[in-house]
Amino acid sequence: MTTESTYISNLEPYGETPVLSVRNISKRFGSQVVLDDVSFDVPEGKITFVLGPSGTGKSVLLKIIIGLLQPDAGRVLIDSYDIPSLSSHQLNEVRKDFGVLFQNGALFDSLNVLENVAFPLVEHAKMAKGDIADRVEKKLAQVGLSGVEKKYPSELSGGMRKRAALARAIVLDPRIIFYDEPTTGLDPLMVEQVDELIKSTNIAQQTTSLVISHDIPALMEIADYGAILFEGSMVAFGTPAELLENPDPFVQKFLRKGLGEHV
Protein backbone atom coordinates (compact mmCIF):
# COMPACT_ATOMS: atom_id res chain seq x y z
CA MET A 1 0.00 0.00 0.00
CA THR A 2 1.30 3.47 -0.88
CA THR A 3 1.38 5.70 2.17
CA GLU A 4 0.18 9.27 1.78
CA SER A 5 3.63 10.74 2.46
CA THR A 6 5.21 8.63 -0.30
CA TYR A 7 2.38 9.18 -2.79
CA ILE A 8 3.51 10.90 -5.99
CA SER A 9 0.62 12.71 -7.62
CA ASN A 10 -0.52 11.42 -10.97
CA LEU A 11 -0.67 15.07 -12.07
CA GLU A 12 3.01 15.79 -11.42
CA PRO A 13 4.19 15.07 -15.01
CA TYR A 14 1.48 17.39 -16.39
CA GLY A 15 2.00 20.41 -14.13
CA GLU A 16 -1.72 20.50 -13.29
CA THR A 17 -3.21 21.74 -10.02
CA PRO A 18 -5.36 19.16 -8.23
CA VAL A 19 -8.82 20.28 -7.12
CA LEU A 20 -9.78 16.93 -5.61
CA SER A 21 -7.53 14.19 -4.25
CA VAL A 22 -8.52 10.59 -3.65
CA ARG A 23 -6.10 8.84 -1.28
CA ASN A 24 -5.90 5.10 -0.55
CA ILE A 25 -9.64 4.53 -0.79
CA SER A 26 -10.74 0.99 -0.02
CA LYS A 27 -14.27 -0.34 0.18
CA ARG A 28 -15.71 -3.82 0.55
CA PHE A 29 -19.27 -5.13 0.75
CA GLY A 30 -19.21 -8.28 2.86
CA SER A 31 -16.36 -10.40 1.51
CA GLN A 32 -16.35 -8.64 -1.89
CA VAL A 33 -13.55 -6.08 -2.30
CA VAL A 34 -14.95 -3.30 -4.50
CA LEU A 35 -12.16 -0.70 -4.22
CA ASP A 36 -8.62 -1.56 -3.15
CA ASP A 37 -6.27 1.30 -2.24
CA VAL A 38 -7.34 3.70 -5.02
CA SER A 39 -5.43 7.00 -5.20
CA PHE A 40 -5.49 9.76 -7.82
CA ASP A 41 -5.79 13.54 -8.22
CA VAL A 42 -8.36 15.33 -10.35
CA PRO A 43 -6.94 18.32 -12.26
CA GLU A 44 -8.66 21.70 -11.97
CA GLY A 45 -10.65 22.96 -14.95
CA LYS A 46 -10.26 19.76 -16.98
CA ILE A 47 -12.47 16.86 -17.99
CA THR A 48 -11.27 13.63 -16.36
CA PHE A 49 -12.83 10.30 -17.19
CA VAL A 50 -12.82 7.33 -14.80
CA LEU A 51 -13.33 4.27 -16.94
CA GLY A 52 -13.59 0.58 -16.35
CA PRO A 53 -15.75 -2.46 -17.07
CA SER A 54 -19.14 -2.83 -15.38
CA GLY A 55 -19.03 -3.80 -11.71
CA THR A 56 -15.49 -2.58 -11.16
CA GLY A 57 -16.40 0.00 -8.52
CA LYS A 58 -16.72 3.23 -10.54
CA SER A 59 -20.11 4.27 -9.16
CA VAL A 60 -19.06 3.27 -5.63
CA LEU A 61 -16.00 5.50 -6.04
CA LEU A 62 -18.22 8.41 -7.12
CA LYS A 63 -20.56 7.85 -4.16
CA ILE A 64 -17.58 7.91 -1.79
CA ILE A 65 -16.24 11.11 -3.40
CA ILE A 66 -19.56 12.96 -2.98
CA GLY A 67 -20.07 11.62 0.54
CA LEU A 68 -22.98 9.25 -0.09
CA LEU A 69 -20.94 6.23 1.05
CA GLN A 70 -18.30 5.88 3.73
CA PRO A 71 -15.07 4.18 2.63
CA ASP A 72 -13.53 1.48 4.84
CA ALA A 73 -10.21 3.32 4.58
CA GLY A 74 -8.72 6.34 2.85
CA ARG A 75 -9.42 10.02 2.35
CA VAL A 76 -11.09 12.29 -0.21
CA LEU A 77 -9.58 15.75 0.00
CA ILE A 78 -11.13 18.93 -1.35
CA ASP A 79 -9.50 22.19 -0.21
CA SER A 80 -8.62 21.38 3.40
CA TYR A 81 -11.61 19.09 3.95
CA ASP A 82 -11.57 15.30 4.15
CA ILE A 83 -15.04 14.36 2.93
CA PRO A 84 -15.50 11.01 4.74
CA SER A 85 -14.68 12.57 8.11
CA LEU A 86 -16.95 15.65 7.81
CA SER A 87 -20.08 16.13 9.92
CA SER A 88 -23.36 16.24 7.96
CA HIS A 89 -23.49 20.04 8.33
CA GLN A 90 -19.92 20.50 7.02
CA LEU A 91 -20.55 18.00 4.25
CA ASN A 92 -23.62 19.94 3.10
CA GLU A 93 -21.52 23.13 2.94
CA VAL A 94 -18.91 21.37 0.76
CA ARG A 95 -21.61 19.80 -1.42
CA LYS A 96 -22.84 23.25 -2.45
CA ASP A 97 -19.71 23.34 -4.65
CA PHE A 98 -20.73 20.09 -6.37
CA GLY A 99 -23.08 19.40 -9.22
CA VAL A 100 -24.02 15.76 -9.80
CA LEU A 101 -25.63 14.27 -12.89
CA PHE A 102 -26.96 10.83 -11.93
CA GLN A 103 -27.19 7.93 -14.34
CA ASN A 104 -30.92 8.28 -15.03
CA GLY A 105 -31.14 11.97 -14.17
CA ALA A 106 -32.77 11.40 -10.77
CA LEU A 107 -35.22 14.25 -11.42
CA PHE A 108 -37.97 14.50 -8.78
CA ASP A 109 -41.13 12.91 -10.23
CA SER A 110 -43.45 15.18 -8.27
CA LEU A 111 -41.88 18.42 -9.57
CA ASN A 112 -41.94 19.84 -13.09
CA VAL A 113 -38.76 20.76 -14.97
CA LEU A 114 -38.81 24.37 -13.75
CA GLU A 115 -39.21 23.27 -10.11
CA ASN A 116 -36.56 20.57 -10.52
CA VAL A 117 -33.96 22.93 -11.95
CA ALA A 118 -34.89 25.65 -9.46
CA PHE A 119 -34.62 23.25 -6.51
CA PRO A 120 -30.99 24.00 -5.51
CA LEU A 121 -31.64 27.74 -5.87
CA VAL A 122 -34.77 27.59 -3.68
CA GLU A 123 -32.83 25.60 -1.07
CA HIS A 124 -29.54 27.49 -1.01
CA ALA A 125 -29.66 30.82 -2.85
CA LYS A 126 -31.60 33.68 -1.32
CA MET A 127 -33.07 34.86 -4.61
CA ALA A 128 -36.38 36.43 -5.62
CA LYS A 129 -38.81 34.20 -7.52
CA GLY A 130 -38.33 36.20 -10.73
CA ASP A 131 -34.55 35.91 -10.55
CA ILE A 132 -34.83 32.15 -9.97
CA ALA A 133 -37.07 31.78 -13.03
CA ASP A 134 -34.59 33.82 -15.11
CA ARG A 135 -31.64 31.72 -13.96
CA VAL A 136 -33.52 28.48 -14.68
CA GLU A 137 -34.47 29.70 -18.14
CA LYS A 138 -30.84 30.61 -18.85
CA LYS A 139 -29.53 27.22 -17.71
CA LEU A 140 -32.18 25.33 -19.68
CA ALA A 141 -31.21 27.33 -22.77
CA GLN A 142 -27.54 26.48 -22.09
CA VAL A 143 -28.33 22.76 -22.26
CA GLY A 144 -30.64 23.24 -25.27
CA LEU A 145 -33.89 22.55 -23.47
CA SER A 146 -35.97 25.73 -23.63
CA GLY A 147 -39.78 25.56 -23.58
CA VAL A 148 -40.26 22.47 -21.40
CA GLU A 149 -40.42 24.23 -18.03
CA LYS A 150 -43.95 23.07 -17.25
CA LYS A 151 -43.43 19.44 -18.27
CA TYR A 152 -42.97 16.66 -15.72
CA PRO A 153 -40.02 14.19 -15.94
CA SER A 154 -42.36 11.39 -17.06
CA GLU A 155 -43.25 13.48 -20.15
CA LEU A 156 -39.60 13.83 -21.26
CA SER A 157 -37.44 11.52 -23.38
CA GLY A 158 -34.26 9.97 -21.92
CA GLY A 159 -32.03 12.59 -23.53
CA MET A 160 -34.26 15.46 -22.40
CA ARG A 161 -34.23 14.11 -18.83
CA LYS A 162 -30.42 14.05 -18.90
CA ARG A 163 -30.34 17.65 -20.13
CA ALA A 164 -32.81 18.79 -17.47
CA ALA A 165 -30.75 17.00 -14.83
CA LEU A 166 -27.60 18.65 -16.14
CA ALA A 167 -29.31 22.06 -15.98
CA ARG A 168 -30.14 21.28 -12.32
CA ALA A 169 -26.54 20.18 -11.66
CA ILE A 170 -25.07 23.44 -13.01
CA VAL A 171 -27.69 25.89 -11.76
CA LEU A 172 -25.59 26.87 -8.70
CA ASP A 173 -22.46 27.26 -10.88
CA PRO A 174 -20.56 24.48 -9.04
CA ARG A 175 -16.78 24.17 -8.99
CA ILE A 176 -16.88 20.47 -9.81
CA ILE A 177 -19.46 18.57 -11.86
CA PHE A 178 -19.70 14.80 -11.45
CA TYR A 179 -21.28 12.71 -14.19
CA ASP A 180 -22.34 9.12 -13.41
CA GLU A 181 -22.56 7.16 -16.68
CA PRO A 182 -24.06 10.11 -18.56
CA THR A 183 -24.51 8.30 -21.88
CA THR A 184 -25.68 4.86 -20.71
CA GLY A 185 -28.94 3.82 -22.34
CA LEU A 186 -28.93 6.56 -24.99
CA ASP A 187 -28.90 6.13 -28.76
CA PRO A 188 -25.64 6.97 -30.65
CA LEU A 189 -26.84 10.40 -31.79
CA MET A 190 -27.92 11.31 -28.28
CA VAL A 191 -24.59 10.01 -26.91
CA GLU A 192 -22.80 12.44 -29.24
CA GLN A 193 -25.05 15.30 -28.09
CA VAL A 194 -24.49 14.56 -24.41
CA ASP A 195 -20.71 14.34 -24.95
CA GLU A 196 -20.77 17.72 -26.69
CA LEU A 197 -22.87 19.07 -23.83
CA ILE A 198 -20.29 17.92 -21.26
CA LYS A 199 -17.54 19.62 -23.27
CA SER A 200 -19.48 22.87 -23.81
CA THR A 201 -20.61 22.97 -20.16
CA ASN A 202 -17.02 22.54 -19.00
CA ILE A 203 -15.95 25.49 -21.13
CA ALA A 204 -18.99 27.70 -20.41
CA GLN A 205 -18.99 27.06 -16.66
CA GLN A 206 -15.19 26.96 -16.36
CA THR A 207 -15.50 24.03 -13.99
CA THR A 208 -13.80 20.72 -13.33
CA SER A 209 -15.62 17.67 -14.65
CA LEU A 210 -15.24 14.10 -13.40
CA VAL A 211 -17.03 11.62 -15.65
CA ILE A 212 -17.68 8.04 -14.56
CA SER A 213 -18.15 6.09 -17.78
CA HIS A 214 -17.24 3.12 -19.93
CA ASP A 215 -17.63 5.11 -23.12
CA ILE A 216 -14.15 4.89 -24.76
CA PRO A 217 -15.01 7.01 -27.86
CA ALA A 218 -16.13 9.82 -25.53
CA LEU A 219 -12.81 9.56 -23.68
CA MET A 220 -10.95 10.04 -26.95
CA GLU A 221 -13.11 12.93 -28.09
CA ILE A 222 -13.73 15.12 -25.07
CA ALA A 223 -11.53 14.04 -22.14
CA ASP A 224 -8.33 15.78 -21.09
CA TYR A 225 -7.34 12.87 -18.84
CA GLY A 226 -8.52 9.35 -18.18
CA ALA A 227 -8.10 6.96 -15.28
CA ILE A 228 -8.79 3.26 -15.68
CA LEU A 229 -10.14 1.09 -12.89
CA PHE A 230 -9.91 -2.68 -13.02
CA GLU A 231 -11.02 -5.06 -10.28
CA GLY A 232 -11.12 -2.23 -7.75
CA SER A 233 -7.63 -0.85 -8.49
CA MET A 234 -6.42 2.09 -10.55
CA VAL A 235 -4.33 0.54 -13.34
CA ALA A 236 -3.62 3.58 -15.55
CA PHE A 237 -3.84 7.38 -15.68
CA GLY A 238 -2.94 9.76 -18.47
CA THR A 239 -4.10 11.69 -21.49
CA PRO A 240 -6.21 9.68 -23.95
CA ALA A 241 -3.22 9.34 -26.29
CA GLU A 242 -1.01 8.11 -23.44
CA LEU A 243 -3.62 5.59 -22.37
CA LEU A 244 -3.69 4.15 -25.89
CA GLU A 245 0.06 3.59 -25.61
CA ASN A 246 -0.16 2.07 -22.12
CA PRO A 247 1.55 -1.36 -22.09
CA ASP A 248 -0.88 -2.93 -19.57
CA PRO A 249 -2.63 -5.82 -21.42
CA PHE A 250 -6.00 -5.09 -19.77
CA VAL A 251 -5.84 -1.37 -20.69
CA GLN A 252 -4.94 -2.24 -24.27
CA LYS A 253 -7.74 -4.78 -24.57
CA PHE A 254 -10.32 -2.54 -22.91
CA LEU A 255 -9.52 0.55 -25.00
CA ARG A 256 -9.02 -1.24 -28.32
CA LYS A 257 -12.23 -3.22 -27.88
CA GLY A 258 -14.17 -0.07 -27.05
CA LEU A 259 -12.74 1.82 -30.01
CA GLY A 260 -13.16 -1.12 -32.34
CA GLU A 261 -16.85 -1.32 -31.56
CA HIS A 262 -17.02 2.44 -32.12
CA VAL A 263 -15.46 2.19 -35.59
Binding site: I66, K96, V100, F102, F108
Partner: protein, 303 residues
Protein backbone atom coordinates in the same frame (compact mmCIF):
# COMPACT_ATOMS: atom_id res chain seq x y z
CA UNK B 1 -38.03 -33.78 -3.27
CA UNK B 2 -35.83 -31.35 -1.36
CA UNK B 3 -32.73 -30.40 -3.34
CA UNK B 4 -29.75 -31.03 -1.09
CA UNK B 5 -27.35 -28.19 -0.43
CA UNK B 6 -23.91 -28.81 -2.03
CA UNK B 7 -22.12 -28.49 1.31
CA UNK B 8 -24.62 -30.79 3.01
CA UNK B 9 -24.16 -33.37 0.25
CA UNK B 10 -20.37 -33.21 0.55
CA UNK B 11 -20.61 -33.61 4.35
CA UNK B 12 -22.74 -36.74 3.95
CA UNK B 13 -20.34 -38.18 1.34
CA UNK B 14 -17.49 -37.51 3.78
CA UNK B 15 -19.42 -39.33 6.56
CA UNK B 16 -19.94 -42.33 4.27
CA UNK B 17 -16.23 -42.40 3.50
CA UNK B 18 -15.34 -42.32 7.20
CA UNK B 19 -17.82 -45.09 7.99
CA UNK B 20 -16.60 -47.34 5.14
CA UNK B 21 -12.99 -46.95 6.20
CA UNK B 22 -13.98 -47.69 9.83
CA UNK B 23 -12.33 -44.49 10.94
CA UNK B 24 -15.24 -43.34 13.15
CA UNK B 25 -17.88 -45.16 15.20
CA UNK B 26 -21.49 -45.42 13.94
CA UNK B 27 -22.69 -43.14 16.77
CA UNK B 28 -20.24 -40.41 15.88
CA UNK B 29 -21.17 -40.69 12.23
CA UNK B 30 -24.86 -40.24 13.16
CA UNK B 31 -24.12 -37.12 15.18
CA UNK B 32 -22.07 -35.72 12.29
CA UNK B 33 -24.97 -36.39 9.92
CA UNK B 34 -27.32 -34.59 12.29
CA UNK B 35 -25.03 -31.56 12.42
CA UNK B 36 -24.83 -31.55 8.64
CA UNK B 37 -28.63 -31.65 8.25
CA UNK B 38 -29.24 -29.00 10.92
CA UNK B 39 -26.50 -26.63 9.75
CA UNK B 40 -28.52 -24.92 6.99
CA UNK B 41 -31.70 -24.10 8.98
CA UNK B 42 -29.63 -22.92 11.96
CA UNK B 43 -27.53 -20.71 9.69
CA UNK B 44 -30.67 -19.31 8.06
CA UNK B 45 -32.23 -18.58 11.45
CA UNK B 46 -29.01 -16.87 12.58
CA UNK B 47 -28.95 -14.72 9.44
CA UNK B 48 -32.60 -13.78 10.01
CA UNK B 49 -31.90 -12.75 13.62
CA UNK B 50 -28.86 -10.68 12.57
CA UNK B 51 -30.84 -9.01 9.77
CA UNK B 52 -33.80 -8.27 12.06
CA UNK B 53 -31.48 -6.80 14.71
CA UNK B 54 -29.74 -4.67 12.08
CA UNK B 55 -33.09 -3.39 10.77
CA UNK B 56 -34.29 -2.58 14.28
CA UNK B 57 -31.07 -0.65 14.88
CA UNK B 58 -31.41 1.26 11.61
CA UNK B 59 -35.08 2.03 12.37
CA UNK B 60 -34.11 3.39 15.79
CA UNK B 61 -31.40 5.52 14.18
CA UNK B 62 -33.94 6.94 11.71
CA UNK B 63 -36.34 7.76 14.55
CA UNK B 64 -33.53 9.52 16.45
CA UNK B 65 -32.63 11.48 13.32
CA UNK B 66 -36.30 12.43 12.88
CA UNK B 67 -36.47 13.68 16.47
CA UNK B 68 -33.36 15.76 15.85
CA UNK B 69 -34.37 17.22 12.49
CA UNK B 70 -38.01 18.02 13.31
CA UNK B 71 -36.98 21.10 15.35
CA UNK B 72 -34.45 22.48 12.89
CA UNK B 73 -35.16 25.11 10.25
CA UNK B 74 -35.98 25.47 7.43
CA UNK B 75 -39.54 24.51 8.36
CA UNK B 76 -41.19 23.07 5.28
CA UNK B 77 -44.77 24.27 5.74
CA UNK B 78 -45.81 23.65 2.14
CA UNK B 79 -44.70 19.99 2.29
CA UNK B 80 -46.39 19.59 5.69
CA UNK B 81 -49.69 20.97 4.35
CA UNK B 82 -49.46 18.73 1.27
CA UNK B 83 -48.98 15.68 3.49
CA UNK B 84 -51.77 16.77 5.86
CA UNK B 85 -54.07 17.02 2.87
CA UNK B 86 -52.99 13.55 1.70
CA UNK B 87 -53.19 11.82 5.10
CA UNK B 88 -56.16 13.74 6.49
CA UNK B 89 -58.48 15.27 3.91
CA UNK B 90 -58.13 12.52 1.30
CA UNK B 91 -58.70 9.81 3.93
CA UNK B 92 -61.82 11.44 5.37
CA UNK B 93 -64.39 9.66 3.19
CA UNK B 94 -62.91 6.17 3.77
CA UNK B 95 -62.63 6.80 7.53
CA UNK B 96 -66.24 8.01 7.73
CA UNK B 97 -67.49 5.05 5.71
CA UNK B 98 -65.65 2.40 7.74
CA UNK B 99 -66.40 3.89 11.17
CA UNK B 100 -70.08 4.39 10.23
CA UNK B 101 -70.51 0.71 9.40
CA UNK B 102 -68.38 -0.47 12.33
CA UNK B 103 -70.62 1.57 14.66
CA UNK B 104 -73.73 0.13 13.01
CA UNK B 105 -72.53 -3.49 13.21
CA UNK B 106 -71.40 -3.06 16.84
CA UNK B 107 -74.85 -1.70 17.72
CA UNK B 108 -76.60 -4.50 15.83
CA UNK B 109 -74.60 -7.25 17.55
CA UNK B 110 -74.88 -5.52 20.93
CA UNK B 111 -78.63 -5.21 20.60
CA UNK B 112 -79.04 -9.03 20.44
CA UNK B 113 -77.40 -9.39 23.87
CA UNK B 114 -79.05 -6.25 25.27
CA UNK B 115 -82.47 -7.59 24.20
CA UNK B 116 -82.04 -10.55 26.59
CA UNK B 117 -81.69 -8.14 29.51
CA UNK B 118 -84.11 -5.56 28.15
CA UNK B 119 -81.25 -3.04 28.12
CA UNK B 120 -81.33 -1.73 24.52
CA UNK B 121 -80.94 1.80 25.85
CA UNK B 122 -77.42 0.93 27.01
CA UNK B 123 -76.18 -0.23 23.59
CA UNK B 124 -75.32 3.29 22.40
CA UNK B 125 -73.17 3.95 25.47
CA UNK B 126 -71.41 0.57 25.10
CA UNK B 127 -70.65 1.30 21.46
CA UNK B 128 -69.45 4.82 22.32
CA UNK B 129 -67.20 3.50 25.08
CA UNK B 130 -65.68 0.80 22.87
CA UNK B 131 -65.30 3.17 19.95
CA UNK B 132 -63.60 6.03 21.77
CA UNK B 133 -61.20 3.80 23.70
CA UNK B 134 -60.44 1.11 21.11
CA UNK B 135 -62.47 0.96 17.93
CA UNK B 136 -61.87 4.32 16.29
CA UNK B 137 -58.12 4.65 17.04
CA UNK B 138 -57.35 1.11 15.83
CA UNK B 139 -59.67 1.18 12.81
CA UNK B 140 -58.51 4.64 11.69
CA UNK B 141 -54.85 3.65 12.13
CA UNK B 142 -55.32 0.44 10.12
CA UNK B 143 -57.07 2.36 7.33
CA UNK B 144 -54.27 4.95 7.28
CA UNK B 145 -51.67 2.15 7.18
CA UNK B 146 -53.35 0.76 4.06
CA UNK B 147 -53.91 4.11 2.39
CA UNK B 148 -50.94 6.25 3.48
CA UNK B 149 -48.27 4.08 5.14
CA UNK B 150 -48.07 1.93 2.01
CA UNK B 151 -47.97 5.04 -0.21
CA UNK B 152 -45.13 6.49 1.89
CA UNK B 153 -43.13 3.25 1.52
CA UNK B 154 -43.81 3.05 -2.23
CA UNK B 155 -43.02 6.72 -2.90
CA UNK B 156 -39.81 6.83 -0.86
CA UNK B 157 -38.84 3.37 -2.14
CA UNK B 158 -39.17 4.55 -5.74
CA UNK B 159 -37.17 7.66 -4.89
CA UNK B 160 -34.48 5.46 -3.35
CA UNK B 161 -34.11 3.07 -6.30
CA UNK B 162 -34.16 5.90 -8.87
CA UNK B 163 -31.43 7.76 -6.92
CA UNK B 164 -33.72 10.72 -6.13
CA UNK B 165 -32.80 10.46 -2.44
CA UNK B 166 -29.10 10.40 -3.39
CA UNK B 167 -29.76 13.48 -5.56
CA UNK B 168 -31.35 15.26 -2.57
CA UNK B 169 -28.30 14.49 -0.44
CA UNK B 170 -25.89 15.55 -3.18
CA UNK B 171 -27.75 18.90 -3.33
CA UNK B 172 -27.01 19.41 0.37
CA UNK B 173 -30.59 18.73 1.48
CA UNK B 174 -31.12 16.32 4.37
CA UNK B 175 -33.59 13.65 3.16
CA UNK B 176 -34.87 12.95 6.68
CA UNK B 177 -35.83 16.58 7.09
CA UNK B 178 -37.22 16.95 3.57
CA UNK B 179 -39.06 13.63 3.23
CA UNK B 180 -39.62 12.03 6.65
CA UNK B 181 -40.38 15.00 8.93
CA UNK B 182 -43.40 16.32 6.91
CA UNK B 183 -44.90 12.83 6.55
CA UNK B 184 -44.57 11.85 10.21
CA UNK B 185 -45.70 15.28 11.48
CA UNK B 186 -48.72 15.26 9.15
CA UNK B 187 -49.74 11.80 10.40
CA UNK B 188 -49.25 12.87 14.04
CA UNK B 189 -51.55 15.86 13.47
CA UNK B 190 -54.19 14.25 11.28
CA UNK B 191 -54.69 10.79 12.83
CA UNK B 192 -56.08 12.11 16.16
CA UNK B 193 -58.41 14.43 14.20
CA UNK B 194 -59.59 11.53 12.05
CA UNK B 195 -60.05 9.45 15.21
CA UNK B 196 -62.36 12.10 16.75
CA UNK B 197 -64.33 12.24 13.50
CA UNK B 198 -64.42 8.42 13.54
CA UNK B 199 -65.77 8.47 17.13
CA UNK B 200 -68.60 10.80 16.13
CA UNK B 201 -69.50 8.89 12.96
CA UNK B 202 -69.45 5.48 14.74
CA UNK B 203 -71.81 6.81 17.44
CA UNK B 204 -74.00 8.18 14.67
CA UNK B 205 -73.99 4.70 13.09
CA UNK B 206 -75.12 3.09 16.33
CA UNK B 207 -77.80 5.82 16.67
CA UNK B 208 -79.17 4.89 13.23
CA UNK B 209 -79.46 1.22 14.25
CA UNK B 210 -80.76 1.70 17.79
CA UNK B 211 -82.95 4.79 17.45
CA UNK B 212 -84.15 4.80 13.83
CA UNK B 213 -84.33 1.03 13.31
CA UNK B 214 -84.96 -0.47 16.77
CA UNK B 215 -87.01 2.34 18.29
CA UNK B 216 -84.87 3.25 21.31
CA UNK B 217 -85.66 6.74 22.57
CA UNK B 218 -83.09 9.24 21.25
CA UNK B 219 -82.98 11.10 24.59
CA UNK B 220 -82.19 7.91 26.53
CA UNK B 221 -79.60 6.94 23.91
CA UNK B 222 -77.66 10.20 24.31
CA UNK B 223 -78.20 10.51 28.05
CA UNK B 224 -76.65 7.06 28.59
CA UNK B 225 -73.68 8.02 26.41
CA UNK B 226 -73.21 11.26 28.36
CA UNK B 227 -73.45 9.33 31.64
CA UNK B 228 -71.01 6.58 30.56
CA UNK B 229 -68.39 8.46 28.57
CA UNK B 230 -65.74 10.37 30.42
CA UNK B 231 -63.28 12.86 28.79
CA UNK B 232 -60.57 10.43 29.94
CA UNK B 233 -61.95 7.82 27.50
CA UNK B 234 -61.54 10.25 24.62
CA UNK B 235 -58.03 11.24 25.76
CA UNK B 236 -57.05 7.56 25.90
CA UNK B 237 -58.19 7.15 22.30
CA UNK B 238 -56.24 10.23 21.26
CA UNK B 239 -53.04 9.06 22.99
CA UNK B 240 -53.37 5.77 21.13
CA UNK B 241 -53.96 7.60 17.85
CA UNK B 242 -50.78 9.61 18.38
CA UNK B 243 -48.75 6.48 19.13
CA UNK B 244 -50.23 4.58 16.16
CA UNK B 245 -49.65 7.56 13.86
CA UNK B 246 -45.99 7.76 14.89
CA UNK B 247 -45.48 4.02 14.41
CA UNK B 248 -47.22 3.70 11.05
CA UNK B 249 -45.58 6.75 9.45
CA UNK B 250 -42.05 5.99 10.69
CA UNK B 251 -42.40 2.34 9.64
CA UNK B 252 -43.67 3.38 6.17
CA UNK B 253 -40.84 5.90 5.73
CA UNK B 254 -38.22 3.45 7.03
CA UNK B 255 -39.32 0.69 4.66
CA UNK B 256 -39.19 3.15 1.75
CA UNK B 257 -35.83 4.56 2.79
CA UNK B 258 -34.19 1.13 2.99
CA UNK B 259 -35.59 -0.20 -0.29
CA UNK B 260 -33.17 -2.03 -2.56
CA UNK B 261 -33.56 -3.91 -5.82
CA UNK B 262 -35.78 -2.00 -8.25
CA UNK B 263 -39.51 -2.53 -8.81
CA UNK B 264 -39.59 -5.83 -6.89
CA UNK B 265 -37.87 -4.13 -3.95
CA UNK B 266 -40.46 -1.34 -3.95
CA UNK B 267 -43.25 -3.95 -3.94
CA UNK B 268 -41.63 -5.82 -1.05
CA UNK B 269 -41.12 -2.61 0.93
CA UNK B 270 -44.77 -1.63 0.44
CA UNK B 271 -46.02 -5.04 1.57
CA UNK B 272 -43.64 -5.08 4.55
CA UNK B 273 -44.71 -1.60 5.63
CA UNK B 274 -48.39 -2.65 5.75
CA UNK B 275 -47.73 -5.95 7.53
CA UNK B 276 -45.22 -4.59 10.07
CA UNK B 277 -47.28 -1.46 10.84
CA UNK B 278 -50.56 -3.42 11.21
CA UNK B 279 -48.97 -5.92 13.59
CA UNK B 280 -47.23 -3.10 15.49
CA UNK B 281 -50.56 -1.27 15.93
CA UNK B 282 -52.34 -4.30 17.36
CA UNK B 283 -49.45 -5.19 19.69
CA UNK B 284 -49.12 -1.55 20.81
CA UNK B 285 -52.88 -1.38 21.33
CA UNK B 286 -52.74 -4.12 23.96
CA UNK B 287 -49.75 -2.70 25.85
CA UNK B 288 -51.00 0.90 25.64
CA UNK B 289 -54.42 -0.28 26.80
CA UNK B 290 -52.79 -1.97 29.78
CA UNK B 291 -50.63 1.04 30.69
CA UNK B 292 -53.45 3.56 30.23
CA UNK B 293 -55.81 1.38 32.28
CA UNK B 294 -53.29 1.31 35.15
CA UNK B 295 -52.87 5.08 34.94
CA UNK B 296 -56.65 5.49 34.89
CA UNK B 297 -56.96 3.44 38.08
CA UNK B 298 -54.31 5.62 39.74
CA UNK B 299 -56.20 8.77 38.70
CA UNK B 300 -59.42 7.42 40.23
CA UNK B 301 -57.58 6.53 43.43
CA UNK B 302 -56.18 10.07 43.65
CA UNK B 303 -59.63 11.57 42.99
Amino acid sequence: MKVMHLKERKDLQFCALLRNTGYLSKRKITSMKLVSILREPVEQFGEYVIDATRRMGNYTLMVVQFLGWMWRPPYRWRLLLQQMEFVGVQSLSIIMLTTLFSGMIAALQGSYVAYLFNAQGMVGSAVALGTTREGAPVLCALMIVGRCGSAMAAELGTMRVTEQIDALESMAVNPIQYLVVPRVMATLIMLPILTVIGDIVAIFGSWIVMVRMQGVDSGIFFENIRWFIDPLDIYMGLIKALAFGFALSTIGCFQGFTTTGGAKGVGNATTRSVVVASVAILVMDYFLGQILHMLEMNVFEVL
